[in-house]
């Protein structure tokens, strides 16, 4: 149960990261910063709306705002380096992550932002004789729902097909008249919005604070590597695995819980670099 909640949040962050990688072939090192931005924006919005029935809107709104920032960043910077060497892509997003997270600090200050009421008002229910927070259940449900929606969108709709076509072969898709540039922007919107909403969902039970970006980024790296870089299904399984490793690690071998996750990541990369659900890895 504990692992499930952590895994849900992780799934949302990681699926955004993996979507962007799958479509645009960019490993977005600024993803953690978008997650942090989502947390801060949500904290502000919830504070403004708290007590009104509109509070619920704060979450999707935060996601949209982060997504729009994502598009702006993509159009402004990342767009120019799709054709370039992967070195530049990593460096650019690395630089962007520094800029973004510092911009968050300058805009929102160094104090953590707390949101009260929401988490406590959701209350707790009894699970096997132990109380379990309802809010966690809501988040798990929501992550599941978003996961389903993503899957539906990717497999059933025209947009999804276009996105998948782009992911498979960029030049070919251009050849058959798809505006890949627009598709990439869309991928960035969805991807960063996913980071944004996961940041937002963390706020009521935690806080929007500086420093959560690096952790989110590296955890989702582990997830997508285990699941397979670029695979949405992989992100789901990967986050579940990490959630479980963490829950059991804390209970059974707390001393090396952190190291275990990295070790699993390294082993998966060594044994099966394409991840559990990734596309075939080509050793160039």
């Amino acid at each position: 149960m504990d692992g499930l909640f952590y895994g849900s949040i992780l799934y949302l962050v990681a699926s955004g990261l993996t979507l962007i990688f799958g479509v645009a072939n960019i490993l977005n090192l600024a993803h953690g910063a978008f997650y942090m931005l989502g947390a801060y924006v949500a904290a502000i919005l919830i504070k403004l709306m708290i007590g009104t029935p509109y509070t619920v809107i704060a979450f999707p709104l935060a996601a949209v705002i982060v997504g729009l920032t994502g598009i702006a960043i993509e159009r402004g910077f990342i767009k120019w380096i799709y054709e370039k060497d992967y070195t530049y892509q990593l460096l650019l997003t690395f630089g962007l992550s520094l800029v973004l997270s510092d911009a968050v600090r300058i805009t929102f200050g160094t104090e953590p932002m707390y949101v009260t009421k929401l988490y406590a008002h959701a209350g707790a229910i009894d699970v096997l004789g132990n109380p379990y927070p309802v809010y966690n259940l809501i988040v798990i449900g929501l992550a599941f729902l978003i996961g389903c929606l993503l899957w539906l969108m990717m497999s059933k709709t025209r947009v999804g097909k276009v996105i998948r076509a782009c992911a498979l072969d960029r030049e070919m898709s251009e050849g058959i008249g798809i505006n890949t540039s627009r598709v990439f922007a869309l991928a960035f919107f969805i991807g960063t919005a996913l980071a944004g909403i996961s940041g937002a969902l963390v706020v009521p039970q935690s806080a929007a604070m500086l420093g959560i970006d690096a952790d989110a980024l590296i955890q989702s790296f582990i997830v997508i590597v285990i699941g397979g870089v670029g695979s949405m299904k992989g992100a789901l399984i990967g986050s579940l695995i990490i959630g479980l490793i963490r829950a059991f690690g804390i209970a059974l071998f707390p001393e090396i819980e952190l190291a275990i996750a990295y070790l699993v990541m390294a082993i998966v990369l060594l044994v099966r670099p394409q991840g559990l659900f990734g596309r075939e890895y080509r050793a160039a």
């Binding site: 149960m1 504990d2 692992g3 909640f5 952590y6 949040i9 510092d102 600090r105 200050g109 160094t110 104090e111 953590p112 707390y114 009260t116 009421k117 988490y119 406590a120 707790a124 132990n130 109380p131 379990y132 927070p133 309802v134 809010y135 966690n136 963390v202 039970q205 935690s206 806080a207 604070m209 500086l210 420093g211 959560i212 952790d215 963490r246 829950a247 804390i250 209970a251 707390p254 952190l258």
Partner: protein, 469 residues
């Protein structure tokens, strides 16, 4: 051992009585004039723009300085180097402290500065990184030629910088940097290094005593602690002390989340499964807030008693939902000594609240008290040394004066111990109780442990001392 533990079991009432005496003494001295000068409220000034090098130059020439200088005083401002943390997660701890420092510097400058010299702050951000901190220190000493330095530092930074300080002969006052090993191992006979905040061992020892006093029947203890040196050290000291006080105590569970985690559910579950009497939350900042929030969801506070070694000001973040009855300790508490009995504290809080109603819950935290103490300790020491030398005192003379100097701070009287340059102050403990007036949980009742009760004697390591009880 028996003797000390008898002494250690001081009743809550005795603590309060002790502090009342101290505060009354404080008021007498305080009324003596040092602080009368800024009794009148001033209109809040605009924050100095946080740019490159912050130069605080307030041109208001207000009330006359306390001492009129007659001897040789260098012209030009005093350059005080400030290395503190504005970026990264550590910023939440030190940014409010810097604001408090700015307020006090403005105030002192408005009164004509120290012996007529204005104070100019040369500010650097270390981001909590020891290498950057050391780098800034060297630059401040050799390039920018500052007179004195204060460092708002993490433990790692303090340990990294102390040896450098001792070799560069510049008076340096460390605000927090509360690693126990700083004066126990790294810098055993400090000359130029002073430290303001009660260090970790004092926090932990006083907190352990408070836990035992509050819940003498508790035998089974568990911890959720931040997984870095500080968390492990605190818990180690707390349990060592508790073992002395409750010989048949046992540690039933330990959970160590990394710093800045956002999810504590697995840790809380693990600890609850062990059915402890008391759960210690060795966390600070947003971590503590998050853990308390999630603990509520998991029924942590219904199933066992909870304490936190740093609690005090961080429970503000939980707002009105904070459970009552968490035993919190802290190095300085904004309501203690009570405002009606210790007007420095009232002044300090009101000024801070007026200027920064949104920063850090609107009231100063322990680092703000440290920052206040830095500048006033410097001022008092320089002025006192001046009365003896008749000229601007050398650094060594200031240091000699500062050792054993009694300094009135918002948190009551504090003094530097001559032997290890560690300032000793009251440790505050109390139970949380939500307050509609403030909009968050305050400590009520709140009491203080005087340093004599919890500080190892100079030159003695905490472990030897506690073992000798």
């Amino acid at each position: 051992m028996r003797v000390m533990s008898e002494e250690a079991k001081i009743s809550r009432r005795k603590f309060i009585a002790g502090t009342v005496a101290a505060t009354i003494a404080g008021i007498v001295v305080g009324a003596g004039g040092t602080y009368a000068a800024f009794a009148g409220a001033r209109a809040p000034e605009k924050t100095v723009t946080t740019t490159v090098t912050k130069t605080v130059t307030t041109t208001v020439t207000a009330a006359s300085p306390t001492i009129t200088p007659t001897g040789a005083i260098p012209s030009g401002p005093i350059k005080l180097g400030v290395i503190t943390i504005f970026t990264g997660p550590g910023a939440m701890l030190f940014d409010p402290g810097f604001k408090a420092l700015e307020i006090e510097v403005e105030k002192i400058n408005a009164q004509g500065g120290i012996l007529g010299r204005k104070i100019e702050l040369v500010v650097k951000d270390s981001g909590g990184k020891p290498d950057v901190c050391v780098d800034h220190f060297k630059r401040l000493v050799t390039e920018e030629k500052v007179d004195y330095i204060t460092v708002g530092a993490t433990s790692a930074e303090a340990c990294a910088i102390a040896p450098v300080v001792e070799e560069s002969n510049v008076l340096t006052i460390i605000q927090e940097g509360t690693a126990t090993k700083l004066f126990e191992e790294v810098d055993t006979s400090p000359k130029y290094v002073f430290r303001i905040a009660n260090y970790d061992a004092l926090d932990a020892i006083s907190h352990a005593i408070a836990i035992h006093q509050a819940w003498p029947d508790a035998k089974k203890f568990a911890v959720i602690g931040a997984d870095y040196v500080w968390g492990h050290d605190e818990w180690n000291i707390i349990t060592t002390v508790l073992k002395k006080l409750v010989p048949d105590m046992e540690i039933v569970a330990e959970a160590w989340p990394p710093l800045f985690s956002t999810d504590y559910s697995a840790h809380i579950s693990k600890v609850l499964a062990a059915k402890p009497d008391v759960v210690e939350l060795c966390l600070w900042g947003g971590d503590l807030v998050t853990c308390i929030k999630q603990g509520t969801g998991y029924g942590l506070f219904k199933q066992c008693r909870v304490s936190s070694v740093t609690g005090g000001e961080y429970v503000w973040g939980v707002g009105m939902e904070c459970p009552d009855g968490i035993l919190c300790s802290t190095r300085y508490y904004f309501l203690y000594p009570p405002w009606d009995r210790w007007h420095i504290n009232k002044e300090f809080n009101e000024e801070f609240h007026r200027r920064y109603p949104d920063v850090h819950g609107g009231y100063p935290g322990f680092n703000c008290n440290s920052a206040y103490t830095v500048i006033h300790a410097l001022k008092l020491a320089i002025e006192k040394a001046y009365t003896m030398t008749g000229r601007w005192p050398e650094t060594e003379e200031i240091i000699a004066t500062m050792e054993n100097l009694m300094i009135p701070t918002p948190g009551g009287y504090r003094y530097f111990r001559k032997e290890d340059h560690q300032m000793l102050g009251y440790a505050i403990s109390g139970f949380t109780k939500v307050s509609a007036e403030y909009g968050f949980a305050i400590l009520d009742p709140v009491w203080a442990v005087p340093p004599e009760e919890m500080a190892p004697p100079p030159g003695k390591k905490w472990k030897e001392w506690v073992e000798s009880w």
